[in-house]
Symmetry: C2
Subunit: 101 residues, 2 copies
């Protein structure tokens, strides 16, 4: 099976039962999933987007984690933020404005 | 913020709305979350477990992905499988019996 070069995780605050109730979801994290998917296609990135349950970084939400780089970003709450993060990913860099340190 | 050395993603088949409906969830992937959490503590691993929406590897479900190693495992449907995978993680190796290649 082909695995993606970049794996982008977007917190959707799913609880164990599935209800999306936490900070990231309330702040609209899942609204950006289609935008991220489209940007990946437009840029020709070898990347997969996966929504997640709570990643325990609620103070920084909406949270996005990119592996294998291991970069944690937040708050990611605009298309501009996503553009900056994906620009950095393409350049092998880190989008410092949104980095959770 | 402290980030985990190992980030373990367990597919819970969450749909966009949050309903856990897909293959991994039907095969009991989320039943093992407490076991994995306990094993991490017992072993003293610097690891975080995160449940996810569909990771598009349904044929291999229940699916577990470990980053930054980038190892995709499945089907992971027993405590024995989890033990083998975490043993390998501790040893810097790969649990070949469950590896999705």
């Amino acid at each position: 099976m082909e695995k993606p070069e970049h794996h982008i995780f977007v917190c959707a605050s799913f609880r164990a039962g599935g209800d999306p109730k936490g900070t990231c979801h309330k702040k609209g994290s899942t609204d950006f999933l289609p935008y991220i998917e489209n940007e990946i296609l437009d840029r020709g990135l070898d990347a997969q987007v996966t929504s997640t349950g709570c990643m325990k970084a609620c103070d920084y939400g909406p949270v996005m984690v990119i592996h294998p780089q291991g970069t944690w970003y937040g708050p990611v709450e605009s298309e501009e933020a996503i553009d900056d993060i994906l620009d950095a990913l393409e350049d092998g860099e880190v989008a410092t404005d949104y980095l959770i340190e």
